[in-house]
Point group: C2
Chain length 231, copies 2
Amino acid sequence: MLYLIPVTLGETPIDRVLPAYNKEIVVKIRHFIVENVRTARRFLKQIDPGFPIDDSTFFTLNKHTTREEVSEFLQPIAHGHPMGIISEAGCPAIADPGADVVAIAQQKNISVVPLVGPSSILLALMASGFNGQSFAFNGYLPIDGDQRLKTLKQLEQKIYTEHQTQLFIETPYRNNKMIDDILKACKPTIKLCIAAGITTENEWIKTKSIAEWKKNIPKIEKWPCIFAIYK
Amino acid sequence: MLYLIPVTLGETPIDRVLPAYNKEIVVKIRHFIVENVRTARRFLKQIDPGFPIDDSTFFTLNKHTTREEVSEFLQPIAHGHPMGIISEAGCPAIADPGADVVAIAQQKNISVVPLVGPSSILLALMASGFNGQSFAFNGYLPIDGDQRLKTLKQLEQKIYTEHQTQLFIETPYRNNKMIDDILKACKPTIKLCIAAGITTENEWIKTKSIAEWKKNIPKIEKWPCIFAIYK
């Protein structure tokens, strides 16, 4: 059994964003595949201050982890031990490397059990007021100015041709540049939702038209942010 | 303050899929916008057997609810009362009519707070092993045979041109027909994830290639199901 274990998005109490059931499952696991060992240990201590961290095994996942290594990581399951994937923030395998591990687990016919937790993408979509019957998450857009404007134009086009909400992210220190680029690329009537610091004390989710945003451009440098556009 | 209140997906204990925090919020609310009054009442009783249902107001939302009616529904917020949207299953405003209410709330500059809960779309994506950096949810596909095959071909195309996981749903009694159509429309190497009964006792999530599925075609008639395809 491979459990996908979501964590909090930033400094948030566990009970704010995770069901009690997750704790019941996690305390039985001793073998973890993690993006960052320090974050994972801290999370386990938060879940249960008495968690036997020193009796647990952590396999670290990064961009360079090979298929063969992942297959070895999953060995404990063959010996009857449940395992868990813990990502850096939010839900494993959504916008992070856990997906490759899950793909291999599926090939090996291992049962994969996703646990409920906070996804900034989904929470932003819920609070945006945009189409939730058809939506696409596009990850990071190109950094290069021309390429980025071109991509924004393409996403804007899809809003009309496919009636599909378009979501994307940016690293926090580039958020203000991203907002400028969206305001430059999109038509005045397009609506932009900026969802920052989701589930934290600083949560701030606002939808306005491009024309309205231009009258009062927000500055959001420090918080992780989800952007969504729709007509 | 307008809270978006997720509910369980089918017969699942509250603690399995909802954070304790949601209860803290919900018990303070007396004005609800709901898809189905009976389901909503039942949910509130599950959250708190002593919930004062009879002292609460329920506004029912359906396809025919007009903009003006929704504006009236939101009146209690102007009088300082928190409100909640409760959908039929899962997360409000994702694949359900709540999104229109949220759009109007955003226009009225009402704070919208999405609470964490189970989304079958997101949980299926996590457990599929497919690309979680780029994905699209397409809702229901056309029912008509030719139109549906054409749409499936278009989604298959997007997997290659946009490297984007494609997700969609079907009403449970048409699941077997949907599986047949996917097996007919897609190339043998395409991978299909079938995620049924998510978060329930019958949860069953499997990813295989079209060629592999063809050797042993599953029958899934009764459970709500998410389908995802990727390369």
